[in-house]
Symmetry: C2
Subunit: 541 residues, 2 copies
């Protein structure tokens, strides 16, 4: 066989940890284990621990391509399990502990998970899940100690501590296109669908994160990963940190403002990543205590729209740069991000694409918009780490030209900045015309009187659908319905004004922390005059 001109170099995720173990001897993972206590491990020791984890899996007869589920918080042992599973060629299937047992069971059955790695504090949920998913042959309990006698598990249970003297397993794997991880979509927009990430797709995604214009960590950074590992592949930070030789700071179970402030201060965190509400909690806390967090240089936000008030508060109060972003489970997950060195940052912008990703706006009939700049369309994406086919499905998830339809509505500025303007399926069709709830939510939601808002369609015998506003007021705030709706005057067409305002004590949230619009629709979306009526008038559709 003729030798290749360039050395063969399969893109393996284990390569990131091996690099950090060899070349960044002082960097590693720090985990908050409780109020003010931490556990720490250097990458070189994490590498050995991960290889012992692989040995354990092999003893449980797990082989290449088998799925191993994790139901766990952001901890050192969870990171160790990721590398241990993917390193030996099996597939990490992350499960979100905030989902219902039924949903988890459906995912685990679909994935045919063979082993479940579970945080001790989630062990009873794990045991329940094992009853619902017969493919699960064993539980491995990680993180804290656990009294196994109290656990009603239908399968054998191993403790992480048992692996301590296992020999480190060998890692191989030259097939960069082999599956490495599996994550189901959040399910706020229909049935959960599984997305497979290959070693190659996650490796290239990681290299994208390392670009100076994207997240761009260096060995001098200490990255606080508040985004859970089970959310959209953990935004890939468990790979990006060791790849850059940066230390990874994991908050464990606690992501309240006080816990995060303490961790940032004691660990000298320089970059932090999480959904906007997490940072609201942090700012509220440090406003109360008056403390500062001088090491924190940047905050990466994603997963939900960022309010301009919050962004301004963070930048002013913390002196940290906010990088807004947009992504999806189907994108590994990063789609776009605002560069840290952009002179004018804009909370409404989702940033820009980096090389390797391309965007296209289409009209409602699937035709590309003739002008791709400054016009709203349905956002499609193509690129090196974008889904092509969902797990277990035979049909591709992309159109004939290979574009994946994100379901988002968006506009792209002249400079390439992306603005997500709504979800296509959330649009309200009133009298044959479209109303975009996201625009109304953004205007009403900017009021300091409200905590969270959602606009949904209510069936209407005359107009087909009409918008209604669901609102959770801010603490101690009062306002009449008119005062709330007043903000829309002159900013949206008058007929966009919601027909009703419904106040809720607490906005229902889906397991990912996003507002659960399906629950709101079920509760409030039926016609006013005819509760339970689900049929649209004939004039619609």
């Amino acid at each position: 066989m003729t030798q290749s001109y360039v050395q063969e170099f399969p893109l393996r995720l284990a390569g990131f940890l091996e690099h950090a173990a060899k070349w960044r001897p002082d960097a590693g993972v720090v985990t908050a284990t409780g109020r003010g206590t931490t556990a720490r491990i250097r990458y070189r020791d994490l590498l050995q621990a991960s290889r012992r984890f692989s040995t354990a899996l092999r003893r449980f007869s797990v082989g290449a391509g088998d799925r191993v589920a994790t139901l766990a918080w952001n901890t050192q042992a969870h990171a160790e399990a990721w590398y241990g599973i993917a390193g030996m060629g099996a597939v990490v299937h992350t499960l979100n502990p905030r989902l219902s047992p039924d949903t988890l069971g459906s995912m685990a059955r679909q994935a045919e998970d063979r082993v479940l790695v579970v945080s001790a504090s989630l062990a009873s949920l794990g045991a329940e899940l094992a009853k619902l998913a017969p493919s699960i042959e064993r539980l491995i309990v990680i993180d804290e100690a656990l009294d196994l006698g109290a656990l009603d598990a239908p399968v054998p249970v191993s403790l992480h501590g048992e692996m301590a003297d296992y020999p480190p397993g060998e890692w191989g794997g030259d097939d960069e296109n082999a599956p490495a991880t599996l994550c189901f979509t959040s399910g706020t927009t229909g049935e959960p669908k599984g997305v497979i990430y290959t070693h190659r797709s996650s490796y290239l995604h990681t290299l994208r994160l390392l670009q100076a214009e994207v997240i761009g960590p260096t060995a001098a950074d200490r990255i606080l990963m508040v985004v859970p590992m089970f959310h959209a592949n953990g935004w890939g930070l468990q790979f990006a940190a060791p790849a850059a030789g940066a230390s990874l700071i994991l908050p464990g179970r606690h992501s309240d403002g006080e816990s995060l402030a303490s961790l940032i201060r004691t660990e000298g965190v320089t970059v932090a990543a999480g959904v906007p509400t997490v940072w609201l909690g942090l700012i509220d806390h440090i406003d109360q205590t008056g403390e500062d967090l001088p090491t924190l240089k940047r905050i990466i936000v994603g997963g939900a729209p960022m309010g301009s008030q919050l962004m301004e508060r963070i930048e002013r109060r913390l002196g940290a740069i906010v990088q807004t972003s947009w992504g999806m489970t189907e994108l590994t997950p990063l789609g776009t991000i605002a560069p840290a060195d952009l002179p004018c940052r804009d909370a409404a912008s989702a940033g820009r694409v980096a090389v390797g990703v391309d965007l296209l706006l289409k009209d409602e009939n699937g035709r590309p918009l003739p002008d791709q700049r400054e016009a709203e369309g349905r956002l499609h994406i193509k690129g090196q780490s974008v889904v092509n086919r969902y797990y277990g499905q035979s049909e591709p998830a992309v159109d004939a030209e290979g574009w994946f339809d994100t379901g988002d509505l968006a506009r792209i500025g002249e400079d390439g900045s992306l603005f997500i303007t709504g979800r296509a399926k959330d649009l309200i069709k009133s009298g044959g015309e479209w109303i975009n709830p996201a625009e109304i939510e953004s205007i009403v939601g900017a009021s300091p009187l409200v905590s969270q808002v959602a606009v949904i369609a209510r069936l209407d015998p005359k107009w087909g659908e009409r918008p209604i506003l669901i609102v959770e007021m801010a603490d101690n705030a009062t306002a009449t319905d008119d005062q709330l709706v007043q903000r829309l005057r002159g900013r949206v067409p008058s007929w966009w004004a919601p027909d009703a305002v419904i106040r809720v004590a607490a906005m229902p949230l889906a397991a990912t922390g996003k507002i659960d619009k399906q629950k709101l629709r079920d509760a409030f979306g039926q016609g006013e005059e005819a509760p339970g009526a689900r049929q649209l008038p004939e004039t619609e559709n």
Copy 2:
């Protein structure tokens, strides 16, 4: 056929230019065309021009895999040719115009170049080369206008301007492992050998350059590429700049201090890359004029060792951070680089590896050193963009474990920093013990009295070899031989002191700008007592 889970995304070099053309509408390439004059083109227009170049090549019956040579300065048209050649699937073979026609002819014959793209100012050298390499069927003259009548070319000659109304050619190419570029090693260390870079290897190398810890350009950067495109693949900057959306500033033929200072000032250059001597010229110039270059933030140096005096002068005078680096043609070319955010920069350090590259020190018998830190060994490298086999050779260029022997001697610090300590083949064996000329050169060369120094072996009837010092004095500097050698006292073993000091008016340089030690050996390396004697005494070896 089952669809892949993730979208297919071949790593094609053309993707960098396509990205910049679509997503960074204001960025592009600026070329110095003369004293104070520039030409400029946006990436989107460069993309179209490059595709017209592909059309021209197709009309000349160039097909995928064919080699097209370039003998040209750093200009817009040269960049256009690169993308035009590689974009359509042909192979860019860069030639160094400072090499002799014979050497160039040997390279072109070995590569079987079919077309030669040549700068107008190099057209007669190109015509001469075409006579020596019968595979060349056509010349394409770029850059300035040229009177073809005065050119004695053995093959048809086309002018770049003829392509102006060609239709842009289609680019395809899904095979990321196809060759994209070809560069011969410099030949200061033996016969030139061809190194093939594939689309994939250069793509991954580019992503490495984009990492925040490596070069890390962003769309806000304007990168001055002084390193010639024909030197070691142009350090990959012609790919990294559009990939990051940064503008690329090309100096054309002029890299003297005055030209560079003018270009940096008028174009607002933020990052500049080139060999150390270029920056010496720049600093000397601005010291004379007293001007400042406030936009310049970083200087990447490579290709030769960096003196600590020069580094200090640059950082103090320019306020720019110097990133030292080490690379080779065989590495695409970057091996290691000092991160810009390293608190203590050290001229002697070559920086560190980024993920995707691994280093190993071996002893003279090819066994890995038991301790890889703080011990000197022969440097081996493995990684995603490292040569595996030279062009046209059947034997691999790596050892049984896949390591490429760089021929450099090196030591690696505890923190992973690499220090190149010499070239294995330059070592002098005196009385059975090794003397490292690089150490002597570094000590004597640090004297402000000398401009350039080289230490070579001279045959010696008693000791086998003895070191002699060749020196080019600084302007107007005088020193006795003893004064020069005096600096070594207490810093190297006393028996390392050179037996003779030979003064030359100008140090002979190879075509890459490095000192031509072979020429020095030919002139001064014969035994003192027995000129011409080449046989070592039996007690040696």
